[in-house]
Every structure is written in structure tokens, then in C-alpha cells.
């Protein structure tokens, strides 16, 4: 994983901690899916995406945001939208 990807994962994990009430030290992996996280259902997914957009200062393509299978695909979407280049 590159430094940029590592940074994206760190920031995605921070949004996930807030959105799903995960412990302070929680860090996701690219393979993490909704099945791994208590409370990550179709309803809370929208809130996660909004939090990601705010964190990275981007607007994600909504249709694709609801077809994601894991955190790795979310990271790809963030990069394609131009996120991951700025500071927190």
C-alpha cells in the first residue's frame, strides 16, 4: 500500500469510527466489508458516504457509492473523485 493509500485508509477509518461508534484504535483494511462492522447497514451507509465526502472534500458519484463491496473499493472511489491529496 502506498503512502497516499495508507493516508486514505487512516482517514476512512476515522470516519468509520465516528459513524459506527468503533473503538478509538480501530483501523479498517481494504478487505473490510459491512458484514464486519456492527451497525453498517444500508441505512447507515449513506451517513458513512456523507462523512467521507466531508473528510476528503469531494463529492462521490452516488450511484457507485451504493454498489461498493468493501473499503478498498471505497478508497478507489475517493481517489477517482480527487480525494486523498489534501490534509485532514
Amino acid at each position: 500500500m502506498s503512502l497516499a493509500e495508507d493516508d486514505i485508509l487512516r482517514r476512512v477509518s476515522a470516519v468509520m469510527r465516528t459513524t459506527f461508534g468503533l473503538p478509538a484504535g480501530y483501523v479498517a483494511s481494504a478487505e473490510t466489508t459491512s458484514a464486519d462492522i456492527d451497525g453498517w447497514d444500508s441505512l447507515s451507509h449513506s451517513i458513512l458516504i456523507l462523512g467521507i465526502e466531508e473528510q476528503f472534500g469531494v463529492e462521490l458519484p452516488m450511484d457507485r457509492a451504493f454498489e461498493l463491496h468493501d473499503v478498498g473499493e471505497l478508497m478507489e472511489l475517493i481517489q477517482e473523485a480527487g480525494g486523498g491529496n489534501g490534509a485532514d
Binding site: G21, S44, I47, E54
Partner: protein
Amino acid sequence: METAPTDSPRGEKPTLLVYGNCQAGAVSAILGADRALAAAYAIHYLPSFDDRVSGSRNVAPEVIARTALLLEQFDANPFPYRNQLPLHCANIVFPSVDLNLLWPLRFANPYNDQPTEATPWGHYPEGDRVIIDCVQRGLSADETIVYYRTHAHEHLPNLSRYAEMEKTRLRTRETRCDITMSDFIFSSLSSDRLFWSANHPTTVSLRELCERLLAAAAPAVPESRLVDIDRSLTMFAPEGPLGFLSVPIHPLIVEHFDLRWYGSGEGRDYGLRVEPASYDEYFHGMASIAIQRRASLEALRTAT
């Protein structure tokens, strides 16, 4: 769509099977309350989840084998007995009727109280992100309410963007369904109360869902044209089969989406009160239980 036989060779009624979450249970109950439909079909509900209220996830094979119509909610847990359905069975896939838009602070409640027979999902199965955060920071219930009243709005998302996102979420799911509900939801949101909580629709929504299901089922189940949904709904309490939990809506959301039906006393938790609670009372109750539960869990952790 092929018309289903009205009787099996042994004279048993064909099955009308409704599969899905608690909404499917409500649909099954509403359809089952119709005399004409109940006379022609054995109506069964099969939960797609661990339903502590409505019962078993098992249906007898002979009941499945007689299924003339499967009303199947699109679900992460697909219908488990598909290979046991008869060839003539009609299958209509419908979406869950849910909307998080009015409750963006909704949160899995880690400090809900333990289930009992009277409250199988605890009193507050729907948590609130800001309330739980206050509890985790050690605030009292009174302090939590003061904080909530003055700061909860800071935690709300961009509501216009969120509305677009929820529309997309529902429409994306509906591409896998035979009927839609998002058009109805977004055209009626301001004028009618459609939800008690994010995934508990009111009778207004359930009525529309049943109407659309019956219209789609009509080619296979001719009796569906005769169903009187309004009469069936009189068999339930005024709040309908899913109205036992009513979650208050933040005033800014009421204003933003012009929720003209919304009153001030709109909270009703699961069994704590008979009358609707005020906005503050509802969240005070949630905080009080969460504080107790957190203390119990901490004590248990210390003891072990």
C-alpha cells in the same frame, strides 16, 4: 405471468408467502386480515431475520411446495427455499420501505437495555449518535439533554445532499425489484407521515405498498383485485402494525423538509410510556437507560 391454481390436489389452500423483515410481517398480517384473500390462500410470513416477535424462520416443506405467490422483499439474506417452490409460483420482489433521511443521527445503540418479553428489542433499539457520545463522555441525563438541545444540529449532515443520497440509495435498490416505492415516498414526505422510525413505515406507507403488491400480483392471483386494504387496516391499532416505536425528528429537519404533519409530542419508545413523549423526554429516557447500561457493563468488565 401464469395464473396459479386455487387448490392443491388434496384440497389444501395454496400458499401466499411473504418473505422479508418486519415490514413483510406487517404486509402478511394486513393481507391475512382480508376475508376473501384468507379464504382462498394460506397466508404465511417468513422472517428474513431473527424475529423475536413473529417467530420461526422455518416453514414446512409442504407449505412451501404449495406456494402460488411469493412476495419477496429484496434482502441481503435471499429467500432460502427457492429450489422448493413449485414451477407455477409467481414471484414479486419488493423493496424495504425505509428512509434514514429524517433521522441522520440514528446509531446502533450499544447501551440499549436487555430484551424482555414485553420489550423484545429493548426500549431504545434506535440509538442516537449524539446521545451515545454524551453518555460515553460521562454526562448525566440532564446534562445530555442540555447539550443535545444546543449542539445536536452541529452534527447534522448537509440535508439537501443527504436527500439526494437517500433517493439514490432507494432507486439503486429498486432496480432489483418488481415494484417501486421511492417515487411515493419522496412525493408524499412533506404532506403525510410515512415513517415512525427509519425502517418502520406507518399505515400510509404500508397501505401504498400493499396496493402496489396486489396490483402486481393480480395476473397470478385474481383475488387480489378484491382485497379491501382499508378494511383490513381497521383490524390494527390506529398507529398500525409497526407503530410501537416513534422516534422524534430534529426541528431543523422538520423545517428543512417542510414536514407539515409533524407535532411536538412525537416520541414513543418501546413500552416505557403509553402517551407520546416530548422530544426532550424521549432522549432523556434514552440517556438514562444508556447511563445505567454502560455502568452495568463497566462493572461487569471490572469484575471479570
